[in-house]
């Protein structure tokens, strides 16, 4: 029997005294620093221009005389002091961390329930032709509807507390995950199915060992998008009627013509979304370590 040995890579370069690896590493580092510097410069430019134009030409108490009116468009320094006030004093409806916690709770609950339901229905319909033929048109019709309007129904039916926001987030997440799971099941490699059957797999084992893992890359690709949708569901739900949450903060700021408040809440949302995105990516890498490049959303 022929033995296959572990692959060995020649790491030693050409013996001409020149360290190619070192040189390549240095070039890579230089580029990384350049990109970072340009990024920071861009942020300073945009924020600086914003701040400058809202201060330029102002005279008297009327902010309308400025080049850009800070009353309507906010002002970076104003946004910052709003954030500081929220952190130090708290918001109109309680401490800041409580608002973030409520919104996160709604988002995560809606996300989890929506994902689970989406996977269950997607796999069930993907595996059952009759079921998908019967339900197909209805699901398409429901998907075509702008589901955010359901938020009003949920607020009336489920009240101002967490459940109405979770319901809206679930509805938004469900369809994204559902269609991906459905497609994932439909796209399972026929040879893999045949192989598993020959090896002796029962229908349940086929689902568990072949269909689900194969659909997983599709499902995971939808998680990035659907987490964003869950956040939209929670915020819009709060916006429509709530006692706590970042969405309510935005609504309150809007009601008092506080443009800086709206921007500050947006900033908090962006930070929350980026942190959540990082967790979703970690989850994805954990679940899909078998694959060098999984299907993911297009990113820059």
């Amino acid at each position: 029997m022929i033995r296959v040995t572990a692959p060995a890579f020649a790491t030693d370069g050409i013996a001409d005294g020149f360290d190619y690896d070192q040189e390549r590493k240095r070039a890579r580092d230089r580029r990384r620093v350049l990109v970072l510097v340009l990024r920071i410069a861009l942020a300073i430019f945009v924020v600086g221009a914003w701040e400058l134009t809202t201060r330029l030409g102002c005279h008297g108490p009327d902010s309308g005389t400025c080049a850009v009116d800070p009353f309507f468009f906010g002002q970076p320094s104003g946004i910052w002091s709003q954030l500081v006030r929220w952190v130090q004093v708290g918001t109109a409806q309680g401490p800041l961390w409580e608002q973030i916690a409520v919104t996160l709770e709604e988002t995560v609950l809606g996300f989890a329930i929506g994902v689970i339901l989406g996977i269950i229905f997607g796999v069930a319909l993907g595996r059952n032709r009759l079921l998908s033929d019967v339900l197909g048109p209805y699901i398409k019709a429901m998907n075509a509807m702008p589901r955010v309007v359901l938020g009003s129904i949920f607020t009336i039916a489920l009240g101002l507390e967490i459940p109405s926001k979770v319901a809206l987030a679930v509805v938004l997440v469900f369809f994204v995950v559902f269609f991906n799971a459905f497609q994932g099941v439909r796209e399972v490699d026929r040879d893999l199915l045949a192989n598993a059957r020959i090896l002796g797999a029962s229908q349940r084992q086929l689902s568990r060992h072949v269909i689900l893992p194969s659909a997983l890359s599709w499902i995971l690709a939808s998680l990035h998008t659907s987490f964003g949708f869950a956040l939209v569901g929670a915020i819009v739900g709060e916006y429509l009627g709530a006692r706590k949450g970042i969405g309510l903060m935005i609504a309150t700021a809007q009601g008092t013509f506080n443009a800086n408040g709206v921007f500050a809440a947006m900033f908090i949302l962006a930070v929350v979304a980026i942190i959540a995105e990082w967790f979703v990516t970690r989850l994805e890498n954990f679940l899909i370590k078998w694959r060098p490049n999984a299907i993911t959303e297009v990113t820059i």
Binding site: T5, D191, L192, A194, I198, V210, W290
Partner: protein, 297 residues
């Protein structure tokens, strides 16, 4: 048995020979390993057109025999394997494995696919252990068994690797171990090495012969490469351009054990090659003409 039927019979004589085999085995203790009788297989395409892949095919494989099936592209070779394995049912005719009509996927069959059919989300060890796990063996025992087979196909030390980390040849080894761990009495192989480079291929063919010799399974090896067919098999069956039916059966009386890389210099190999190629050439031409027409239309 079939080997007494000589090498250059016409289609009619082959059928008579097969008939003879049946009477012999019915009188004897064991049935043929595989028996296809008057098998026709039609497929209906999604557009509703019916397509005949196999027509009136008779094929018999005795236990322990290595049979190679050659034929031009699209002659229904893969369909034949799908019928034997029970993945597909014949439209007309009977398919029997060890005397039993095939109704569903049987436990005695192993199948190595042309494309990679190892599970990309499972490590080498889990891939190989899949067969016993599916068949109800507990995890620990399955894993011990899998390690043995991984060693037998020469992949010691790669248990924790995922398929995408392996080369094409190594993935084929995983596929072989995955199939052989179930100890199939019938091993179906659908152009398993066609995607490999020439050197790796010769290596794998030799290993396949070694492994086969130790299992005693009946093999049906589908290929379009005549050299590979003669090198490996006890018997070569030529299938006509689709719809496929048996055109000729040839006994390969080359000595065993064989070395694939060297057997092709054997004078008898060259003789057989010429003889079978004469038969195969016409079918290849027919198939080529058809594909040209299909492109033109």
């Amino acid at each position: 048995m079939t080997r007494t039927c000589g090498t250059t019979e016409s289609l009619y004589v082959v059928a008579v020979c097969a008939q003879g085999v049946r009477t012999v085995t019915e009188g004897g203790a064991k049935a043929e390993a595989i028996e296809l009788r008057g098998v026709t297989k039609r497929f209906v395409s999604p557009s509703g057109k019916s397509f005949t892949a196999l027509r009136d095919l008779d094929l018999t494989v005795v236990p322990g025999e290595f049979t190679a099936v050659v034929g031009p592209t699209g002659c229904g070779k893969s369909t034949t394997l799908a019928l034997i394995s029970g993945l597909e049912a014949p439209s007309v005719g009977t398919v029997k494995v060890f005397g039993e009509p095939v109704k569903s996927v049987g436990r005695s069959v192993g199948y190595v696919f042309q494309r990679d059919a190892v599970f990309p989300w499972k490590s080498v060890l889990d891939n190989v252990a899949m067969g016993p796990r599916f068949r109800g063996v507990d995890a620990e025992k399955a894993s011990t068994e899998a390690r043995q087979w991984i060693g037998r196909v020469g992949l010691d030390g790669f248990e924790r690797y995922y398929p995408h980390q392996l080369s094409g040849g190594m993935r084929k080894r995983v596929a072989l171990a995955q199939t052989l761990i179930n100890q199939p009495r019938i091993l179906l192989m659908d152009e398993p090495f066609s995607a490999l480079d020439v050197q790796t291929r010769a290596l794998m063919e030799n290993e396949l012969l070694d492994l086969w010799a130790s299992t005693g399974a009946s093999v049906v090896f589908v290929t379009h490469d005549l050299e590979e067919a003669i090198g490996l098999a006890d018997r070569v069956i030529v299938i006509t351009a689709g719809p496929g039916t048996v055109k000729g059966t040839y006994k390969v009386d080359l000595p065993r054990p064989r070395n694939i890389a060297e057997i092709r210099f054997h004078p008898r190999f060259v003789e057989l090659y010429e003889e079978i190629w004469n038969d195969l050439r016409d079918e290849v031409l027919v198939s080529y003409e058809r594909s040209k027409q299909r492109v033109a239309s």
